[in-house]
């Protein structure tokens, strides 16, 4: 029991699990039910509607992963982040990113991690990046980091100063469900962090300090209707804790990394893949986030999306690193897809900004 608990507090990487190796994940996603023809591969599925190969649209979002280090070890984490992960972006790579931010046509900058705030150069980077004048400057904060240590207590003020758009995960409005997915004590700390953000103006209906929440299902099922969930979250958080926020993004868990590990260990893998394929929505394909996003890893490599980054599927382009960035060349590429992409196209679709089809 104790051993199980300890395991849960470690990344797959630390546990030296097979699934910490990207190609082992890809193998799992290509063999079995997909190889034996029980389910169509993603490529077969999108070919039915002449949507293969997927090509990028105009670049709108540059998503930068500042490192896999995190103060939490959430059970579903697709980054396999945690306190035991040491990979973080160096200042040199950040400088290369800044150059691109200044010249890109993308209007949104999205900083993610792990906990991006744990990168020692995080504040410097935010200050420099905010001078570049992007339209929407997002930081994906896990909330508890704000309460994790004194040195982070002033983060809300710092975000406010740079007009950062805060997007935070919140699995449920009840303690039990939240703590099961993200760790004991996470719910209470998240509530405190949200209250602090509210106090300085974040998330208040007319405020331009944007605070959005992300909901991922806490298990092997798909997210419900985003609008309905948002209503339930708003009502419960207001009644119980006097907390307000702008929008809720409902995101489908993609079958990679720790969530894949969980699916296999709990014998839910096949059922989950059936659910994703059953819920496949061809209309969502046009709006998957890889079509308007580029993802930069902590070591400066370029990917179609955060998920391809974790599967080590670099962009299919002769430009593969931020240091040699060239938007025209990069835009002329085919997006790399595999079975995990079913997660982006189930139901109303799923992206970092929630569903991709109006509900």
């Amino acid at each position: 029991m104790q051993k199980e608990k300890k395991k849960k507090q470690q990344s797959l990487h630390k546990r030296k699990s097979d699934l910490s190796i990207a190609h082992k994940q890809l193998e799992k996603l290509s063999n079995g039910i997909f190889a034996n023809g029980n389910l169509p591969t993603f490529q077969q599925k999108i070919s039915e509607t002449q949507q293969f190969p997927l090509r990028p649209n105009t670049l709108e979002i540059l998503q930068i992963n500042l490192g896999y280090m995190c103060n939490q070890v959430c059970a579903h984490c697709h980054v396999d982040a945690g306190p035991d992960r040491k990979e973080i972006m160096t200042r040199e790579t950040m400088e290369q990113c800044l150059e691109v931010i200044r010249s890109t046509s993308a209007h949104t900058l999205d900083l993610t991690g792990g906990a991006p705030e744990m990168n020692p150069n995080f504040r410097w980077f935010v200050e420099e990046a905010s001078k570049a004048g992007v339209r929407d400057f997002i930081v994906r904060s896990n909330l508890t980091i704000i309460r994790a240590n004194k040195k982070y207590y002033d983060l809300p003020e710092f975000f406010k100063k740079h007009n950062v758009h805060v997007i935070s995960s919140m699995p449920h409005w009840t303690r039990g469900k939240t703590d099961r997915q993200r760790g004991t004590g996470v719910f209470d700390q998240s509530i405190k962090a949200l209250q602090e953000l509210n106090t300085i103006g974040y998330g208040i209906p007319d405020s331009n300090l944007r605070l959005d929440l992300v909901y991922n299902p806490s298990g092997a099922f798909l997210p419900g209707n985003q609008k309905e969930m948002e209503g339930d979250f708003k009502k419960a958080l207001m009644e119980d804790f006097n907390i307000q926020f702008h929008q809720l993004f409902a995101i489908t868990n993609l079958p990679i990394s720790r969530f894949l590990d969980y699916l296999i260990a709990s014998e839910n893998y096949e059922d989950y893949m059936y659910q994703l394929v059953d819920a496949y929505n061809p209309a969502a394909v046009q709006n998957v986030m890889c079509r308007n996003t580029l993802s930069v890893s902590w070591d400066g490599y370029l990917y179609d999306c955060d998920f391809n980054q974790m599967l080590e599927l670099k962009v299919a382009s002769k430009v593969q690193h931020i240091s040699e960035y060239n938007e025209t060349i990069l835009q002329d590429r085919n997006i790399i897809v595999s079975q995990h992409c079913y997660g982006c196209t189930a139901g109303a679709g799923s992206s970092c900004q929630g569903t991709v089809i109006g509900q």
Partner: protein, 112 residues
């Protein structure tokens, strides 16, 4: 290959196939079924909990699986689900017990 169980969870995915051998009736059923679960005077969430309770009183393993998952997708908590099951159980046991009155009537009528 012979099946060893009457109930196979994988059969739930084939529910739609009932239209294969009687298209019109099958389609009419699904049309009705889907209409019933639309948001109406009751919310879709309330209907999901009612369906979960009835799945238990009907003791249908397919419906139990389906409406447990539906509840989770809607953010319904396990405590709410269990309370719904108790509502079903209370009605079911109440319905059994209330027939005891018939038994009592009969005894009273037959006995001297």
């Amino acid at each position: 290959m012979s099946k060893s169980n009457y109930y196979d969870p994988a059969d739930l995915r084939k529910f739609g196939n009932i239209t294969n051998w009687s298209k019109e009736l099958g389609e009419k059923f699904f049309e009705y079924y889907n209409k019933v679960f639309e948001e109406g005077a009751l919310t879709a969430r309330e209907k999901s909990l009612i369906a979960l309770a009835v799945s238990h009183t009907e003791m249908c393993p397919y419906c139990i699986d389906a409406y447990t998952k539906d509840g989770l997708q809607r953010g319904i908590t396990k405590e709410e689900m269990m309370e719904a099951v108790h509502v079903g159980a209370a009605i079911k046991s109440g319905a059994t017990l209330v027939h005891g009155v018939q038994m009592m009537n009969k005894v009273n009528k037959l006995e001297m």
